[in-house]
Point group: D2
Chain length 348, copies 4
């Protein structure tokens, strides 16, 4: 993050004090083409950002370091606003920027990820900005590049969906697997539960324990995944999805069980994924099974496909860092794409 140069992309961050805000700032510090204009916070306005997160001590220009109330920045016109706010609040607070006709928006909340109104409302309630509810482009860079380049409103994918859609979409598009009967068993680090101190995030409830939660049909990310998978397969998709909380800070591993199409097997699956991703800087096929530690603090997704002997099932294992490729890194990757920058700048 360098300052004082007018040719940089000028950005503001709404909800900068949450975990995705912190992660995003950490990445932006390394990005040579960005200038952060302001850091917004509702609850900690007036506080120094490096007081909230001492990792930034003396790293941020003084004027930027003091958190500004989000009500005060609504009339600024940065090139780009990142929203790290919760769903609902996000739609309301990015409205002024969408309306100024110039600022582009990358929304890390769920507000614009689901175009189907009924599905959105079932998962998240009534929408905070109905007139834009179906205007966002879904920001899975590798699979939606053209639309992302030109959008003013980018819906950054959820963490679980990123880990699930990257392996599944090419296989569905290629007819390698069936759209029905897919089971996703996902494992996530605690950072996904957010910054708020709750019983769920208490050290003694997370440490040395694994828990299943929102089992089967209960997690909000289901609607997002099912919509994208339906778009890829051309038919309605119903997933079973069981997330688990792991005793670690970051990382998602998704183990995906699906049915191979007639005549298809592991080789076809690998070839299909290789074709989709061999030129991609951030998605990689593995010859062995990946660990989440292999991608910690990176924007990479590693995938392995495996067909058990004598079975017609295909098992996919994918890993990402939920805070980077699953949130802020992917947001930066989208920014690079939207502003015509080098795809890997800030993400090495």
């Amino acid at each position: 993050m360098t300052q004082n140069t007018s040719t940089k992309v000028h950005v503001g961050i709404l909800g900068a004090t949450g975990f995705t805000g912190r992660e995003l700032m950490g990445l932006l510090m390394r990005h040579s083409e960005v200038e952060v204009d302001w850091l917004g916070s509702e609850s900690q306005a007036g506080c120094p950002y490096d007081g909230v997160y001492p990792q930034f001590l003396n790293q941020i220009p003084r004027g930027v370091n003091i958190l500004v109330p989000e009500s005060e920045v609504r009339d600024t016109i940065p090139d780009l606003v990142f929203s790290c706010l919760p769903h609902g609040a996000s739609a309301r607070l990015i409205a002024p920027f969408l309306k100024n006709g110039k600022t582009r928006v990358i929304d890390l909340s769920a507000d614009f990820r689901i175009r189907d109104k009924i599905a959105y409302e079932k998962a998240y309630g009534s929408h905070g900005l109905p007139e834009w509810a179906d205007k966002g482009e879904y920001g899975l860079c590798e699979l939606n590049r053209q639309a992302i380049k030109n959008t003013r409103l980018l819906a950054n994918p959820g963490c679980y969906p990123t880990s699930v859609l990257l392996p599944l979409i090419p296989l569905l598009r290629g007819g390698i697997i069936a759209a029905s009967g897919i089971i996703v068993d996902a494992k996530s680090g605690v950072s996904g539960a957010g910054k708020k101190a709750t019983d769920t995030t208490h050290y003694l409830n997370c440490n040395e324990s694994v828990a299943a939660y929102k089992v089967g049909d209960q997690h909000r990310h289901l609607a997002e995944m099912e919509e994208q998978l339906a778009l890829a397969s051309g038919e309605k998709v119903s997933l079973l999805f069981t997330p688990h909380l792991m005793p670690m800070e970051r990382g998602i591993l998704s183990t995906i069980y699906c049915d191979l199409s007639s005549g298809k097997g592991e080789d076809e699956a690998e070839a299909c994924l290789a074709k989709a991703y061999s030129q991609e800087p951030f998605v990689h096929l593995r010859s062995d099974f990946p660990r989440t530690g292999d991608v910690s603090n990176t924007n990479h997704c590693h995938i392995k496909a495996y067909q058990p002997k004598g079975s017609r099932k295909l098992i996919l294992v994918s890993v990402i860092d939920n805070m980077v490729k699953g949130a802020s890194g992917q947001a930066l990757q989208n920014m690079n794409l939207m502003f015509g920058l080098n795809p890997v700048t800030g993400l090495l």
Copy 2:
């Protein structure tokens, strides 16, 4: 563990220095009806046990504390020998005790868990004691009680199988679920990987990372589970089984996806499990989804059954402590049963 009383059950432990040996000794310390006669070790014979595991400092009578080579105890005739040795070595070293016609044996290795010779050899190679290979009783206490009471050779179940069979067997016996198409996605702590220092057990490879391993059809415990499930269902069973290594010491959580039989649902599944386990001191049905932390350092298994809305799948989540109910605690539970002791002694 009290000493000097001849009415106690006199026991010896083969392979006392491994993790299951340590866990077993910790439990035996609290058991009022047992007297440990000797602790055997091949690699550390002559060393004090409380030097290997300082948690036992000054807790074990001096004569017992010094580890004895297993070659020297073969002519002793304790009431019971626990074998905490690896498979193969276990069968060979318990042979003298089986042959003395008096000593009973609880084998924590895999050597006598699988009666089908071909399945055993495929998983573990040639058997170390072929004449006894199909003579062990499978020690899942709650589901095989009568046979366990009278056996001289008890095959203590594997950790993963314990967590999988306790929820599945009653449902298969009761016709609630189908025997085909079962998928088990299991998560285990690192203690399951054993005491040996390897790349797998290096702190930096385990900590802050989740890994899938032996995916789908590759884990040795599959043969054990498939044999027991076939016995319960009366038909051949093929599982998909994917274990994962978690950044924690102990605990297994198994998430099991299976097909409900026609006309059956979550209610029937719960009723079936309640009938099987309502009088059991160590298996409990939960109304919410369990965490492994709920059963850490206990011999309990907690189970939750759930049918997603609109789905014909049943999702089962079970948790155990892999070192206790999945190994040494279950061994003690079997000992209590074999010797007519109070079922919960030493296990509270």
Copy 3:
């Protein structure tokens, strides 16, 4: 914990839902001479205890399992009340039991640990039960046995003080070390920070990080330690004490730097400690340096004394489990002593 037997010690637990309450219940489950009459809770009265802590599912008699408001038990007369309440609240709520002239009390809070009124008030504010403020016996079992046996009001020591006083008091009494210039650098697991969800106990603030807090002269346990050390040495003692928060659930390791008295060295220190503790079931001298893991989930304290070559300093390293020997286990040890029970019952 067995029931229905009138010769058992009948106990009630105030503040049963905190971490020390949970730990105490876990230990009492294994104690053959105790019957729990009631479990008290202000905030969760009416809830089942095994709903708060599922580890107890189906383990506690139904009538005991439902948490009772502490206002409703004030007229019961159990043989013993354990108070696991915070300081201040503890003194107020145990008052009725002290006043009934029969019930004995073991207070796990700080309320009766410090007899010096000024020191108490400086650390904790005004006392909740002034007429009893100097009537508690300090419950460091090994070093205050006679007084503990007969007291009606037992002040259970703090976790840090237990780990510091056990090594220091015999050495001060024996004149081996100087009373001045002692530095304690202590490391604790997160359970010491209590059950409340706060920024301090958030997983992401604890995990993968070590922090110093209340450095040097700021921690409340200082007053407790200084009073006890002054009693042992016969002179005023000023410690420097720096606690640190470790990324683990339980355990305290205290590294203590002190000056050897003229003519004394490591040998005299070891001999002094051996004399004090060789007959004790729960305090042990180590020949190597202990890890907190060596005493996890036990009531043991391990100590090592070391004099660096060419130095007149003695370095002591002691480890305990802060929740057991540093809290609930020591409380049970005190109960055994107060009621003439076997010292190790419930603590193996």
Copy 4:
């Protein structure tokens, strides 16, 4: 790390497969002015580096990715060789590069950190390259900048010494504290114990446990610290130094107890440190006490000085990431200085 540009600094890495090698490569990936020519390894020559560390999958040019035996690179003449080898081996294998008269060397081992021959040999045995044994410049960038700029042989400081010397040297130079009686109680993550699988690094021995080791006068880093402190103070210095192993991957927190000079106090200490570091990009004074998590994965050192009320002691708390500022990050910082590059390139 970009390639194909001759004006870059061309570097080779000896011992690339150890943890410091991995960390260094991770940092070099982000450095715009460096081109890696080869990665050396004795034990894994011929293997792909991204097979050893999958985090680098598809990130390293093919020719560089295959590890080369160190015997084959001795005649190459890169601008700079980093040695991540163990002491002893390091001196031997960098000899050819020192002798070619052109290549500069940054040695991350201990081989050139200690100029005093007797002190070196006592800690590490006989030297592998005696004629260069006292020719290295000690690479504590902030405090030895001029000498570093021009050296051909840079001795990169140890991890513990970095955390101890950064706070202490300015205070000793400034006469704020006494050179005698300093006690350092340090806490380190497990990465400091290296890549080798041993009982020490086994997950079950590290996790959920804190251990003191090499207590008081036993750690090899003592000689390095005492030499540097003697240079700063002009008098012989004897430290007491007790390192502790923490259940975390990375980070060192050093708690340092020292005596204030007559007339000096916390204010003078803070002013002295502020003067030394206010212009430094990587050393920062804190107003509160730092956590190691505040500097994880960064090259920063955070320091807090505190004088307890009524005491003449000064307590210093410093934190670094042992793998970055304590090893590979500081090596990169030294490279930037030696080659006249921007001090923060690759370290944001």
